[in-house]
């Protein structure tokens, strides 16, 4: 082929060291699983600590749990439930991959099922929860 | 003369190693030898590729052995087919060994773990292949043992696995560039040539290594890259054969190169003959099964030279398919998806990937592709390298495609090469072990790596302007045009001129990469040197053989001429290798063919 058709561009633009690996469903589900797992873990630490306050006194506990009722925390809680829901559903997917002989074959479909079920769950949960949080407080 | 240099020493930047046996090449031939040699002698395998990258892994169809697992067969029929397939230029004693030891060779591989396809009874399954017949040509026979269409892959993997098991010493991505030969006192006061080792270039570091050894086995594979359209890997540049040539040892039957009928059109990627073994059919543009006209009895399963020639004939006579009428079809559609997916999965995928053609529903465009070098380093039946028609070089062995035993004569039968590398690979290893039991190290010459260093430094620091790729491309295109399936004195003369010109240009070749580490540019320059040398020998030998036989088809001499040419060509490098006229530095001689049982007859299929 004609050599002149292809001359080298010497420009060395600044680019990241390496490209991001473009994995597919399997990889991204794992990334999400990991992130949600860590998030839940840290939340759990806090959550157990606040339950421990139950043993101290009702007033103290109510003060702590009261913060959960503030709208910002409400949003945070929605996110947390979203994380738990994804982690749980994808956890089931992982378990099926591990123990069901056809699991690996259907892992991609299962990922999308996880997403769909997750969306449905969240559509069911989020409005109820947010309504509760944002409605003018009846309880306490 | 330097005395023994300790193993592991580094002198002037050159690393020294000492082994009883050094095997050059880690394809099927080299590793089969290593398995024999490793447990009994201190052995090193030096390979320019990681062993599993060797081109044995590309072999598809099968490995012949008269196991009689599915129908009656015996090794004598196999011998006959091999002799007849090779157009009677086969050394029949060697063919007999090949066919007899085939059975053990296959069983050895199975015992080593090779996952052959199985019959319903659990035995090794066998399939039909071109030129393999029952009872001296009566009908096609199922003789090829196979593992889907990845037989070579399985052989290469199995051999490598067993080398791992045995803890063989591999020197991977070490490029052997020189064979060291010393003179020692022979038995009756004569002096004798014997190998003292090899010099290798380590690709990763750019450093040189001298391997001193008592025995050297060459198993460096073929040199299909002298052609453009080829089933061979980019790395099959004939370095081993080239080294032997430059050492002024002879090469045998270099004019015989096999063109495999079914290469993917335009690409040369192989579609195994096993496809036709399973029932696929060649058709021309009008859909005619043209092989019926050329080989009425076994049709599409005629030997490769005949099929390839018939295909080119069809195209030349205007019956080719496609816009340029320059290919024919391999029709597998009637085999059904099941057979294609289970028995021929890889080639089905090749057609889909590279041509976008699905063999399940449409025929695949194919044309002959340069495939296999029948010629090479002449050896005895014990794989010992010959320095003339009868004298061996003690301690020097060759096996596999680089060698010429000659079991393939002027045309190799399909499945006989995987067999060849196993049978003669094993023999080379065995014999080398026997040899080193009593042999002494031959002293290394002074400064053993100097020659290689000069060559490499010359190339690396050259201020030349000629592109490696341009020279190589020109060579390959002209070889395809003038020295392929059909040859005449005119075309051969033309390509002789071309090669001469290219050799001149090569002296002025440019290496752009000046670095030391992983300098593949330098490597390609060296490889090109070997390609040019070998192409010259091929063409020179071809011009000299004024007859048509097997893979060598002379349009100007279309008949086989047993009277004058029933003999092997032996080519010697003499005088100044750089002289312009090949006749000034190549001397041709003849070597008789060993005929035991089968007198030459006309070949009909």
């Amino acid at each position: 082929m004609p050599v002149e058709a292809a001359d080298t561009l010497e420009s060395t633009r600044s680019r990241p060291g390496g490209t991001l690996y473009r994995g597919r469903e399997g990889m991204w589900s794992w990334v999400l699983h990991r992130i949600t797992g860590v998030a839940i873990f840290f939340f759990l630490l806090v959550h157990i600590l606040d339950s421990v306050v139950l043993g101290i006194s009702p007033q103290a506990y109510n003060a702590v749990i009261g913060t959960y009722k503030n709208p910002i925390m409400g949003l945070g809680e929605t996110a947390l439930v979203a994380a738990i829901a994804f982690h749980a559903l994808n956890g089931i997917r992982i378990i099926l991959i591990d123990f069901w002989s056809k699991g690996a074959k259907y892992q991609r479909i299962m990922f999308w099922i996880v997403i769909v079920v997750w969306v449905v769950l969240m559509l069911g949960f989020a409005p109820i929860h947010l309504m509760n949080v944002f409605s003018e407080g009846s309880a306490s | 003369m330097s005395e023994q240099i300790a193993d592991g020493a580094v002198i002037d930047g050159v690393h020294y190693h000492q082994f009883d046996i050094v095997i050059v090449g880690a394809g099927g031939g080299g590793m089969r030898a290593a398995i024999e040699a490793g447990p009994h002698a201190k052995t090193a395998v030096i390979s320019k590729l990681y062993p599993t990258r060797s081109h044995t892994g590309a072999a598809q169809g099968g490995m012949a052995a008269a196991l009689s697992n599915v129908e009656e067969d015996n090794w004598e029929w196999h011998t006959y087919d091999t002799v007849k397939g090779g157009d009677y230029l086969v050394d029949q004693d060697a063919a007999e060994i090949l066919a007899k030891e085939a059975i053990d060779a296959v069983i050895d591989l199975e015992n080593m773990g090779l996952p052959f396809n199985r019959t319903p009874e659990g035995k090794i399954d066998q399939r039909r292949f071109g030129g393999h017949t029952r009872d001296h040509g009566k009908a096609a026979v199922r003789r090829a043992c196979y593992a889907a269409d990845r037989t070579g892959h399985m052989i290469l993997q199995t051999l490598f696995q067993n080398c791992v098991k045995l803890g063989i010493n591999f020197f991977n991505e070490f490029y052997v560039l020189d064979l060291l030969i010393g003179e020692v006192d022979g038995p009756d006061g004569t002096t004798q040539k014997r190998p003292s080792g090899v010099v290798a270039y380590e690709l990763a570091t750019g450093e040189l290594h001298v391997f001193q050894s008592k025995a050297v086995i060459f198993a460096t594979g073929g040199f299909g890259k002298i052609f453009k359209t080829t089933s061979n890997a980019h790395t099959l540049t004939g370095d081993g054969v080239g080294i032997i040539w430059r050492k002024r040892l002879p090469l045998e039957d270099m004019e015989f190169f096999q063109f495999h009928p079914t290469g993917l059109y335009g690409l040369g990627i192989l579609l195994t003959e096993g496809a036709r073994g399973e029932g696929a059919i060649l058709r021309n543009a009008s859909g005619e099964r043209f092989m019926e006209r050329y080989a009425p009895t076994i049709k599409d399963l005629a030997p490769r030279d005949i099929v390839a020639r018939s295909m080119v004939q069809e195209v030349l006579e205007g019956r080719g398919a496609g816009p340029n009428k320059d290919y024919v079809y391999l029709d597998c559609t009637h085999l059904g998806a099941e057979v294609l997916e289970t028995k021929l999965p890889d080639i089905t995928e090749f057609a889909r990937t590279y041509l976008g053609v699905d063999p399940v529903v449409e025929p695949v465009p194919v044309m002959p592709t340069a495939h296999y070098a029948m010629g090479g380093i002449p050896t005895t039946n014990n794989a010992e390298v010959l320095s003339d028609n009868t004298t061996i070089v003690p301690g020097l062995y060759a096996a596999g495609e680089c060698a010429c035993v000659s079991v393939h004569g002027s045309n190799r039968l399909g499945t006989n090469s995987l067999l060849d590398i196993n049978v003669f690979g094993k023999r080379s290893g065995r014999n080398a072990v026997e040899y080193v039991k009593t042999a002494e190290f031959v002293p290394l010459p002074d400064n053993p790596a100097a020659g290689v260093r000069d060559m490499l430094e010359g190339l690396r620091t050259s201020t030349g302007t000629e592109r490696i790729a341009a020279i190589r491309k020109e060579l390959q295109e002209q070889m395809d045009r003038n020295a392929q399936v059909f040859r005449t004195d005119d075309t051969l003369a033309a390509v002789t001129e071309t090669i001469h010109g290219l050799r001149e240009r090569y002296r002025n070749v440019q290496v752009q990469d000046k670095g030391k580490r992983f300098n593949t540019d330098l490597l390609e320059a060296v490889e090109l040197g070997f390609l040019l040398d070998l192409a010259e020998v091929v063409v020179f030998s071809a011009r000299n053989r004024k007859e048509s036989r097997g893979g060598h088809m002379r349009d100007d001499y279309p008949k086989r001429d047993d009277e004058n040419y029933m003999k092997h060509t032996m080519a010697y490098l003499t005088g100044d290798p750089h002289s312009s006229n090949p006749a000034d530095h190549i001397k041709l001689d003849w070597k008789p063919v060993v005929i035991t049982r089968y007198q030459p007859m006309e070949r009909k299929y």
């Binding site: 004609p2 490209t19 | 081109h55 996952p115 067993n162």
Partner: protein
Amino acid sequence: MSTAVADAPAEGQASDAPEAIKSFVVTLIIRRFDPDVDTEPHWQDFDVEVYPTDRVLDALHKIKWDQDGSLTFRRSCAHGVCGSDAMRINGRNRLACKTLIKDLDVQKPIYVEAIKGLPLEKDLVVDMEPFFASYREVQPFLQANSTPPEGKERIQSVAERARFDDTTKCILCAACTSSCPVFWTDGQYFGPAAIVNAHRFIFDSRDDASQVRLDILNDKEGVWRCRTTFNCTDACPRGIQVTQAIAEVKQAIMRGHA
């Protein structure tokens, strides 16, 4: 029929191809590294004229042969059977010789870089030794206690042979192992390729050392590190169901036998 595709030229045919076939220019952006001069890899652009049916390997060859001879990569067979040229093309591990230009988005530049997780040696070449070291550790060779009848094969039924067929296809290209996020983290994980090659023998009815291999893989760096991310399966040029094979090995370890 097939002609539309078949008449597109292949490697090297460009010069004498009829005008009808359209070539076009693509930009390859290659991550380069020369150990003799560079301390860090950097990206370099090359414009190459290609045909849609060209492979990425052809494009790399055109660069090496016509533009910059120092571009370094491994290749041999050029049709996906030798395993030399695994590299990261547009962010995914593939064989350069099995990736056709037309299957990539040619409107955008094509990013090519070395596989990840193995020590970079030069341009697209990595040190394969750690990869083969893991391979060797799983004892990838037949260990049979029984001796077959002299001069005969071992009997194996068609079904037994089929049991491990998938994993016999491995060409040790390392596309899988170097796409595995767990392997990237510290390179200590055995990696999918080693497990695939263990699987090949664990489920071979002729082999008697399955237990040994299961023990080896029942290790801190063994199968349990696999997080089923499926990058390996997606990357394997031989279409091996790698994650499935790993799952089968895990099951075998739990069961206590193959």
